[in-house]
C-alpha cells in the first residue's frame, strides 16, 4: 500500500488493521481528488543560531523554549521552513463537509498525510543540499510542540513573508491557514544528534491525541 494512504488510514484511527475494500477505495479516490486540487509550495531561510539555557536566538528572532533549545543543541545555524498544500485542499474539505461528511473526514486525513509527506520530501532535498557543507538536518520542530509557544507562529510567518510569498497565513487563534500547512525550525549541525532525535510525537504534550505515534525504537 502507498505510504501516504497508510498514513491517512492511521489518521483515521487504523492501527495496522487492514481496511475493508470500500474504505480503501474511498481513501484512494479521496487521495486522487485531492491531488488534483493541491498546490504544494514551500519556503525556507537560513539563520545563524545561538542557544543559551532555554533561550534560542534564531537570526532576528528570540524564542523562549527549553525544549526547542534542547532540540537544537550543538546546532550553529537553523532553517525556518514553511510548506503548504494551498487553499485547494481546504476548499475540498469544506465542500464535502456540506455534502458528504465521511468524504470530508477522509479528505482531511489524506491532506494531513500529504502535507507530512511533502515536508519529508522537501526536508530530504534540503538534507542533500546541506550535505555539501557538511551539515546535517535535525527533525522539524514546530510552534505548538512542547513549550515552543504557538505565539511564535506570527513571527515565523512574517520573517519568511509567508502571506505574500506562498499565501500562508494564520488566524487570530494562531491556526495556520490553509490548514494543511506546516511551519518549523530545522536545526543544522556538524554532527548527528545524540539522543534528542526522538519522534516528534514524544515531545508533544497532547498525550491523549488519537494520532500520537508510538515511540520509535
Amino acid at each position: 500500500m502507498v505510504k501516504t494512504i497508510k498514513e491517512a488510514l492511521r489518521y483515521l484511527g487504523y492501527r495496522g488493521q487492514e481496511p475493508d475494500l470500500a474504505t480503501l477505495h474511498l481513501v484512494e479516490t479521496c487521495m486522487e481528488e485531492l491531488e488534483g486540487q493541491v498546490q504544494r509550495r514551500s519556503l525556507w531561510e537560513r539563520y545563524p543560531l545561538t542557544v543559551g539555557g532555554s533561550q534560542v536566538q534564531l537570526g532576528p528572532l528570540r524564542i523562549q523554549s527549553g525544549q526547542l533549545a534542547r532540540h537544537l543543541e550543538e546546532c550553529s545555524q537553523a532553517l525556518l521552513f514553511a510548506a503548504t498544500l494551498g487553499v485547494g485542499a481546504d476548499r475540498l474539505v469544506q465542500k464535502y463537509e456540506k455534502l458528504d461528511l465521511t468524504r470530508a473526514v477522509v479528505l482531511q486525513a489524506c491532506g494531513a498525510s500529504l502535507i507530512e509527506a511533502y515536508c519529508d520530501r522537501r526536508q530530504g532535498e534540503l538534507a542533500r543540499l546541506f550535505e555539501g557543507e557538511g551539515l546535517l538536518l535535525r527533525p522539524r520542530f514546530s510552534p505548538g510542540y512542547g513549550d515552543f509557544s504557538l505565539e511564535y507562529q506570527r513571527d515565523l510567518l512574517s520573517l519568511l513573508q509567508c502571506p505574500q510569498r506562498m499565501g500562508l497565513t494564520c488566524t487570530e487563534a494562531l491556526m495556520l491557514l490553509p490548514t494543511k500547512s506546516v511551519t518549523a525550525v530545522i536545526g543544522l549541525a556538524r554532527e548527528s544528534a545524540r539522543g534528542n532525535c526522538r519522534s516528534r510525537c514524544s515531545q508533544c504534550q497532547a498525550e491523549n491525541c488519537p494520532f500520537r505515534e508510538e515511540e520509535r525504537s
Binding site: P60, V87, L99, L101, L150, G167, T171
Partner: protein
C-alpha cells in the same frame, strides 16, 4: 479615468522595490517597513528621490502593508507620512510625476476559507484608500493581490470611499495560477467588470517568466496593462536573499515586456534605481499599443471564466423553488443542503453556469440570496446567474459574489433599467435582457427585437457596452400560441444579426402544457442552437437535452474530433444491465455496512409491513448500537462509523416522513446544543458528533463555528437546553471554551457541558470546569445518554 496627459501615448514608468532598498539601508528582517515613514523619513524619501533620478514617473508610497491589522492606530499617520514623502521627493525633483497610494493584501485569508470577513477586508482597504487620498495620492495601486475575493473587496472599497483612479496588479505563479487558484482569464473578467482603470502583473516572477503571462493577459484584456516584475527569482545566499537578474538583463527583457500591451512598466522585489534607469533608457521610445475592446462576453467565478459567444453553454435551472415543494421547504427553514446538492449534481451533469433563484414570498429574499450565493460558491467553481426580480436581493448577491456574475434580468421597462444598470456599473456583470417592456411581451419578432435594441442603446448611455448583455427573446409555450417558438427564434436571429449580442433562452417553457415535454424541449433546443443560441437555460440532468446539446456540438464542428461526445457516450454502447436490487439486504445490514441507498430502500420496504416506531426500535437502534460498540472496541473505524450514520440518517428520513403523514412525530430524546468555540474556525469534529447525536434521536441545535459565549448562553437560556457540547481545536481557543462554561454556570446552572477536541484531555476539561470530557463522537453519544436517562 487616468487623467495624465500622455497616458497611452508614451510609456509611463513605475519605480522599483522599496523593501529591498530599505533592507540595504538597515531594515531588519521581520521589521515593518512602513514604520520607517515615521522613524526614518529621510531614508524613504531618498529612495523615492533615487528612483526619480533614474527617470521614473510613478512612485509607489511606502504603504503596502499599512493596514489596521498590522499597524493599529498608527495606520493613518503612517499612510499620511508615506504619501507625503513621495510627494516631497517629486517636488524636490521638480518634474511631472504621480504618487500611487500603494495597497497590498491584508495578509489574511478571507471567509469561508479564512477568518477575515469580506466586509472586514473592505473596511481595512477603505481606511487605507481614504487616508491615501487625504494625504494627496494621485491614484491607488492595488498590488501583489493573490485572492480575487480580497481584490474585489479592495476595488469596491476604493471606489466607494475615494474618487481616485485604480490600477490593480496580481501575483501569479509561473503556470498562471493565483495562490487561491484563479487564473488570468478569471482575474481579467473580474477587474474589467469592476471598472478599474488599468490591470496587470507584479511580483512573484522575473521579467522573463512574466512574458508569457503578460502576452495572455494582453490578448484578452480590454484595459491597458501595467507590468512590474521582480529582478528575477529570489534565492538564499548565505544569510541574505538575492535576486538573480541584474540591471542590464532586466532592462533588455523589459523591452519585450513593454511591447505586450503595457502602458506602464516598473519593478518589484529586488529591483533598484539602476534596474529602472537602464530599463527606461531602453524602453523610452516604445509607443504603447492602443488597447482595443476585445468584445468578450465573459462571466467568472473565483476559479474560472466562461466566455459566451463561440461555443454554446448550458445554464443549470434547477436552483429555483418554482414547482419544487422540497426546495421551498428547505428555503423556508434556512436549510441550504438541498440547494447545494442540486448545485453539485448539475455541475456533474455538465452545466457551465448555475442559475440561482431563491424567490419565495414568505422569506427575506436579499438575505437568503446573499447566503445562497456564498454557500453555493463554497461547493462549486461554476459561475452563477443571480436570478431575481428584487433589486435589493440582486445587489446583495452581486456584492458577495466571488467573481463576475450573470444576472437575470433586466428588461425594456425604464424602471428595470434604472435599477439594474447602476448595479452593473458598480459590481460588473453580464445581464440577461428580457424582451418585454411596460406594454408587455410583443407578439412579433420585430417588436421583441426593438425592445432589445432599445435596451442595448440605453445601456450604452450608461457606459455599459453591449458585450455585457445577453438577450432572451422569451420562448413561451406553443400550447397556447403555436407560433411562439417561431417568433422567439426569429427575434433571436434579428438580435444576433443586427445587434451582435449574445443570446439566451429559458428552453423548457416552450412545451408547457404538452405531454412528453422532453421531446419538444430537445427539438427546440436544437433549433435554437442552430439559429445561434449562446446560453441555454435547461435542466442539465434531463437526458434528451444533454444529448441534443452534445450531438449539436459534434455536428456543428464545435467539439473537435467529437472528443467530448465520445468521452461521454463512448462506453455506453452496450446496454447496461439493470442495477441489481439488493432485495436480500435488510435495514440493519444496510446500516451496518454503511450503504445509504440500500438503507433508504430497505426502510421503505419495511414500512409496508411494520409500524414506523417499530422499525426504529427493532432495526435501526440495534444496528447503530452495534456500530457504536464496534467503533469503541476498535474493530470498526471512523469512516465506517460515519457511513453507517449517514445510512441510518437516510432511513430515519423515510421513517420520519411516514410519521409526519400520520400526524405524529418521533419522540425526541432531548435537545443538545453543539458549537465550536469563539476563535476556532475548524468544525469537522463537532460535525461528526452532531451526525451521531442526531442518529441517536437527539435534537441537535448546531450554532456552527467561531461562536461567541454570549450567543451560546442566550440560546441555552431561551430554549432551556439541558446539554451543551463544545469543541476546540487549538490551545489558544481553550480559554474561550472556559469563558463559555463560566458564563453557562452563571446564567444556565441546569446545563451540563461536555467538551472535546484535539488539544483537550480529561484533566484539562476538569480544569476549565466542564462536566465531561468526550474523547470522540461516540463518547458524546454515551454522555448524552447519561444526561437524558
Amino acid at each position: 479615468m487616468i487623467p495624465w496627459k500622455d497616458w497611452g501615448k508614451r510609456l509611463y514608468f513605475f519605480d522599483g522595490a522599496m523593501g529591498t532598498m530599505l533592507q540595504q539601508a538597515g531594515l531588519g528582517p521581520g521589521e515593518k517597513p512602513e514604520l520607517w515613514n515615521l522613524t526614518h523619513p529621510q531614508v524613504v524619501q531618498s529612495i523615492h528621490g533615487a528612483y526619480l533620478d533614474a527617470g521614473v514617473d510613478l512612485l509607489k508610497s511606502n504603504t503596502f502593508g499599512a493596514n489596521r491589522l498590522k499597524l493599529q492606530e498608527q495606520t493613518v499617520p503612517v499612510i499620511e507620512a508615506g504619501v507625503r514623502l513621495a510627494r516631497q521627493a517629486l517636488a524636490q525633483a521638480g518634474r511631472e510625476g504621480y504618487v500611487a497610494m500603494d495597497i497590498g493584501p491584508t495578509g489574511k485569508l478571507l471567509q469561508p476559507l479564512g477568518d477575515l470577513s469580506f466586509a472586514g477586508a473592505y473596511d481595512l482597504f477603505a481606511e487605507m484608500a481614504r487616508a491615501g487620498e487625504m494625504a494627496g495620492a494621485d491614484f491607488v495601486l492595488l498590488e501583489t493581490m493573490s485572492d480575487l475575493y480580497e481584490l474585489k473587496a479592495a476595488v469596491l472599497a476604493v471606489k466607494e470611499s475615494t474618487r481616485l483612479p485604480i490600477v490593480a496588479t496580481l501575483i501569479f505563479d509561473g503556470k498562471g495560477k493565483l495562490l487561491t487558484g484563479g487564473d488570468i482569464s478569471a482575474a481579467v473578467a473580474l477587474l474589467e467588470g469592476l471598472g478599474v482603470d488599468a490591470l496587470g502583473l507584479n511580483c512573484g516572477l522575473g521579467p522573463v517568466q512574466m512574458l508569457p503571462l503578460a502576452r495572455e493577459m494582453g490578448k484578452i484584456s480590454s484595459l491597458p496593462l501595467v507590468l512590474n516584475p521582480n529582478a528575477g527569482l529570489p534565492r538564499s545566499q548565505g544569510d541574505a536573499t538575492v535576486f538573480d537578474v541584474g540591471p542590464q538583463e532586466f532592462a533588455r527583457t523589459m523591452v519585450e515586456l513593454a511591447r505586450e500591451g503595457a502602458w506602464a512598466v516598473g519593478g518589484c522585489c529586488g529591483t533598484t534605481p539602476e534596474h529602472l534607469g537602464r530599463a527606461i533608457k531602453l524602453c523610452r521610445e516604445i509607443i504603447p499599443r492602443p488597447v482595443a475592446d476585445k468584445g468578450r462576453t465573459v462571466v467568472s467565478s473565483y476559479g474560472r471564466a466562461v466566455v459566451l459567444g463561440k461555443d454554446p453553454v448550458l445554464v443549470g435551472e434547477r436552483i429555483n423553488p418554482t414547482g419544487k415543494p422540497k426546495l421551498k421547504q428547505a428555503l423556508r427553514e434556512g436549510n441550504m443542503e438541498y440547494l447545494l446538492q442540486e448545485a453539485v449534481a448539475q455541475q456533474q451533469c455538465g452545466a457551465h453556469i448555475l442559475d440561482v433563484n431563491v424567490g419565495l414570498p414568505e422569506i427575506h429574499e436579499a438575505a437568503v440570496m446573499g447566503r445562497a450565493v456564498q454557500e453555493i460558491q463554497s461547493v462549486t467553481d461554476l459561475p452563477l446567474q443571480i436570478d431575481t426580480a428584487d433589486p435589493v436581493a440582486m445587489e446583495r448577491g452581486m456584492r458577495v459574489y466571488n467573481g463576475k456574475p450573470l444576472i437575470n434580468s433586466v428588461n425594456g421597462k425604464r424602471e428595470s433599467m434604472e435599477q439594474v444598470f447602476p448595479l452593473m456599473k458598480k459590481y460588473g456583470a453580464v445581464a440577461v435582457v428580457l424582451t418585454l417592456d411596460e406594454k408587455g411581451i410583443p407578439d412579433t419578432s420585430q417588436g421583441r427585437f426593438e425592445i432589445a435594441q432599445r435596451v442595448v442603446q440605453e445601456a450604452a448611455r450608461w457606459g455599459i457596452p453591449k458585450k455585457e448583455l445577453v438577450v432572451d427573446c422569451l420562448a413561451m409555450t406553443i400550447s397556447s400560441k403555436q407560433d411562439s417558438a417561431q417568433v422567439a427564434l426569429q427575434a433571436m436571429k434579428l438580435v444576433k444579426e443586427h445587434l451582435g449580442v449574445c443570446t439566451t433562452f429559458g428552453v423548457s417553457n416552450i412545451s408547457f402544457g404538452l405531454p412528453q415535454r422532453g421531446q419538444i424541449n430537445a427539438a427546440f433546443l436544437l433549433l435554437a442552437l442552430q439559429a445561434g443560441l449562446d446560453a441555454a437555460i435547461v435542466n442539465p440532468g434531463a437526458q434528451n437535452m444533454r444529448q441534443a446539446y452534445d450531438a449539436y456540438r459534434a455536428l456543428a464542428c464545435l467539439d473537435e474530433n467529437c472528443m467530448d461526445y465520445i468521452t461521454r457516450y463512448g462506453n455506453q454502447e452496450k446496454p447496461q444491465r439493470p442495477a441489481q436490487k439488493d432485495r436480500g439486504m435488510d435495514l440493519a445490514q444496510a446500516v451496518l455496512h454503511g450503504l445509504k441507498e440500500q438503507a433508504v430502500q430497505a426502510a421503505k420496504l419495511a414500512l409496508q409491513e411494520e409500524e414506523p416506531l417499530e422499525i426504529v426500535q427493532k432495526q435501526l437502534v440495534p444496528a447503530l448500537d452495534q456500530v457504536g460498540q464496534d467503533f469503541e472496541r476498535g474493530t470498526l473505524f471512523l469512516p465506517q462509523l460515519l457511513m453507517s450514520a449517514e445510512a441510518a440518517k437516510g432511513a430515519f428520513g423515510v421513517v420520519q416522513e411516514r410519521l409526519a403523514q400520520k400526524g405524529g412525530d418521533q419522540p425526541g430524546r432531548g435537545k443538545v446544543l453543539v458549537a465550536t468555540v469563539q476563535g476556532d474556525i475548524h468544525d469537522i469534529g463537532k460535525n461528526i458528533a452532531k451526525v451521531l447525536l442526531e442518529n441517536y434521536g437527539y435534537q441537535v441545535v448546531d450554532l456552527g463555528k467561531d461562536v461567541p459565549p454570549e450567543q451560546i448562553v442566550q440560546r441555552v437560556t431561551t430554549e432551556k437546553i439541558p446539554l451543551v457540547g463544545l469543541s476546540a481545536l487549538m490551545t489558544t481557543t481553550v480559554p474561550s471554551m472556559a469563558r463559555t462554561i463560566a458564563l453557562l454556570r452563571e446564567r444556565a446552572p441546569w446545563c451540563k457541558v461536555m467538551v472535546g477536541g484535539a488539544v483537550l484531555t480529561q484533566d484539562y476539561a476538569a480544569q476549565i470546569g466542564a462536566d465531561a470530557y468526550v474523547k470522540d463522537a461516540m463518547a458524546s453519544v454515551r454522555y448524552a445518554g447519561q444526561v437524558f436517562s
